[in-house]
Symmetry: C2
Subunit: 524 residues, 2 copies
């Protein structure tokens, strides 16, 4: 009875419908928002990464793929080249509205190379977005199967699920069976840019033996992925032969897959990395599709002990050199960063990256602020991520609770995305992003006024907030009660404060009379 199993996802494999308490709103220009309708009659619009899946009117058909943007301009160069020419592209206009900034700012940041718009001409399903420190901090979610586990349907589901909770981009890091097919399903159905590490597929093509790889086969893999619509590609071209010995005394050696694969190849052939020697050709290929480089940190530290060491910073210097080459070809570039870094060494990474790489958008994995908490590395790394984003990182690559232990499942993906939306938002607040502060204020006001439903709806995860509240007070009247089970009715400080304000209103004249004498602030 072992029936043939169709590897293709079906429409019921993914989660659709609005986030609780929100509905999809499109501006006249098609810019999406998650609109929260408040019980006060006002509404609050939130940046929305989730695509048509949260639109209750959308018809989702995974086999057909998402609707395509109609205004993709081909053969007129990259966003970088067009920005340099002073053009405000359709993507830039869309992004300006999405971010709440002027189109000029978008164009100028792209022209300077301080921001990128990953938008392969062949991925018209994606909604334009920008990665750069002048804009909201972005979050990437890694998905993809390994040889050991997972299927195409599960990975498409993870993509939809991750964008539902706020992933701004997705990286498909599949290394197992059906790499091309998995990616095709993801690309055709992804409302966000998709990144890959082409090396993984190149290695599969030689059955996993790094020493058998060739530049030609790698190049063909890159072209195949460009044609398919991949928006950005991690290329570990900064791992040079000369740097490998710098890793020998490390506690955890080389922990980047791509870095270790290239190191093995270089040692076997006693040659410089073909990614480095053929970098100009790579640039020419990527420029044709406007694929963005994500220059990989193949020598990133894999432990606190190895942070900020000679190997890491040697590679970063080479990434700076490659950044200039890529930009001379009109190719957009971002720079990947660590890894595992103790808090006091985090800011140094941003400073050096900006100095060496002309402020190309920094895209960091965490970093994890300690090594000692496997199963909680979404938290260890959210700490590092918040700090590094405050210092100027433009996009954070999430880490899930399964990091170091196994392939993330659906729940891990959500936990990782939420932890990273927290880190990104904390950084936006610390950077003074006006929209960030407005959301905190709206939620806190709802909390203070016991508008429980509004509080849930404005939160990152309304489902879980409501579920936690209802664990002890499930009845509907508790949704307007002036307390929760944490303190009970008598000890609710917010209820008491409301009483105090009422009392003070009654006695306002009396207070005002004494006010100037008694109530002077003691600290300016």
């Amino acid at each position: 009875m072992s029936a043939f199993v169709d590897p293709r996802p079906s429409n019921t494999d993914v989660t659709t419908g609005p986030i609780a308490g929100s509905s999809k709103h499109y501006s006249p220009n098609g810019v999406p928002a998650r609109r929260v309708q408040l019980s006060t009659g006002e509404h609050f619009d939130l940046y929305d990464t989730s695509g048509p899946y949260t639109d209750e009117h959308a018809v989702i058909d995974l086999h057909r793929g998402l609707p395509k943007r109609g205004n993709v301009v081909r053969d007129r160069g990259t966003q970088l080249q067009r920005a340099r020419n002073g053009e405000i592209t359709a993507e830039m206009a869309f992004i300006a509205e999405r971010e709440g900034v002027s189109p000029d700012l978008v164009r100028d940041e792209v022209a300077r190379g301080r921001a990128v718009i990953p938008a392969n001409h062949n991925h018209p399903e994606s909604e334009p977005m920008i990665i750069g420190k002048a804009f909201g901090v972005k979050v990437n979610a890694n998905i993809g199967n390994s040889a050991v586990t997972s299927s195409i349907a599960e990975e498409v589901d993870k993509m939809v699920w991750a964008t539902r909770w706020g992933a701004d981009t997705i990286m498909d890091l599949s290394t197992g069976r059906d790499i091309h097919l998995t990616r095709e399903w993801i690309l055709r159905n992804s409302p966000v840019p998709v990144g890959t590490v082409p090396m993984y597929q190149a290695l599969e093509k030689v059955n996993g033996d790094p020493t058998k790889m060739t530049w030609e086969s790698y190049r063909d893999t890159v072209i195949e992925q460009c044609e398919q619509g991949v928006d950005y590609m991690t290329v570990h071209a900064g791992v040079k032969l000369a740097y490998i010995p710098l890793t020998v005394d490390r506690v955890t050696g080389i922990v980047s897959r791509g870095g270790s694969i290239m190191a093995a190849w270089m040692l076997a052939h006693h040659q410089e990395s073909f990614l480095y020697t053929h970098f100009d050709e790579l640039c020419e290929i990527l420029a044709r599709y406007d694929v963005t480089f994500s220059l990989g940190d193949g020598l990133r530290p894999g432990s606190i002990a190895d942070a900020n060491d000679a190997a890491q910073f040697a590679e970063l210097e080479t990434l700076g050199e490659l950044t200039k080459i890529a930009k001379s070809h009109g190719v957009q570039v971002m720079i990947e960063g660590p890894g595992h870094v103790p808090m006091h060494k985090i800011v140094e990474n941003v400073r050096l990256e900006e100095e060496l790489c002309e402020e190309a958008p920094f895209y960091t994995l965490g970093p994890l602020a300690t090594d000692i908490a496997p199963a909680y590395d979404h938290i260890t790394s959210a700490i590092g991520a918040a700090i590094i984003a405050q210092a100027g990182t433009a996009m954070l690559c999430y880490v899930t609770p399964k990091e170091h232990l196994g392939l993330p499942n659906r729940q891990d993906v959500k936990d990782g995305v939420i932890a990273y939306r927290i880190a990104a938002h904390a950084a936006d607040l610390a950077k003074g992003h006006p929209r960030a502060q407005q959301r905190d204020d709206a939620l806190s006001k709802a909390r203070f006024e016991f508008r429980w439903a509004d509080q849930f709806a404005l939160s990152l995860d309304p489902d879980t907030a409501r579920e936690f509240h209802d664990e002890t007070l499930p009845a509907e009247p508790a949704k307007t009660a002036h307390f929760c089970s944490m303190c009970g009715p008598k000890f609710c400080s917010m209820r008491i404060t409301a009483d105090i304000r009422e009392a003070m209103k009654d006695k306002s004249a009396e207070f005002a009379e004494r006010g100037n004498q008694v109530y002077l602030p003691l600290v300016p």
Copy 2:
């Protein structure tokens, strides 16, 4: 059939036995450690807060309580007074060994008021510990029932459970039925210092009407709790009448229970807080038992919008004044801190506290770095906690996922403690704590060498680390396999790095020959 339910806990209500991969070790002086036996034959000792519950040889009898320390010295003053006299107390000697520092350092920090040893003479069940920025960052876990939910047995279980995962102190914040009895069960069975907010019981005594409270009834409650053995008490004596109007324009008013209760009392009576006017008497009481003040931040910000405002800092200035008074009575003092603070405003809190309060140990609740993630506030606050601890906070009060939503259950308590052990450890690392770095190195070395069992055993939560790993690769041989399901066998960077090191060893002569030319680090 509704049988009488005995409210007293039974021994089966609590979790006993060693943490997986560890065993209890006592030094000749009785200082406990969680000893991890590594597969290499070495062992690694970890700071251990869990008391006899993790000792496989201990006989736990909740009805008898934990064994009592025999060397408690009464009627010879407080640890502060004795430190000033140059004495190294039994507690200080114990702590010095526990922290791996000199007894002189412990005494000097206590004498200066930069560290406290919360050790009520009437709580001999507790193992001595220290709170101060020269030592490891500590974590407090709040437990306690509310009128809405929970029982004595549940709270005793939470206490044992919290210390198992690393809580250095416990606060019993019960506000419901049986406050005295709940506390008695916790104290007699707690291996760590116990803190309370006496106001909560004082308010219960007047049926929850703040305006009915009196100094006399509050004082009697304090004495009752001192007699019982409470080690430190939160007293919101810094909330003065004059500061209440400063909270009127806040987004979230007064969010401390104690602060709002006192504000209500002051407004109703048009009098200064009795906690402030009777502070000297309070000091005299606490000095008799060596109970430590935790001067509460009744006006702490409850939202990002209210952080670092005039109300908060006015109260902090008063706390500085009270610190000096308490110390003049020989009473140990720590200072409570916020709350909700965006990242860029966190360090200012520590700087001001140290300046105004003579560097008395800072004890902060988080702070939460954003308001927008109810159900994930262990994470929003772990970010703030790590940053504030790096800046000098001595003890972090945990926040659980249920914060703002309901009373934490057992799983929430564990999640809160682990998130805060991460924050504390990240800060220890950033402060250069030598033992902290050693643990990271030991775990990362185990990870790199595929000693999975050692990696789990050295982690904060071996159970969950193993469970996550086994979700995809449950078979026992996977515990020594040179990969996990995250990347699968072909893509394991650590396996490839091991191969590279092997290859480099073979070619070491050749590499050495070229080395000086080719392998110079490019960055110093």
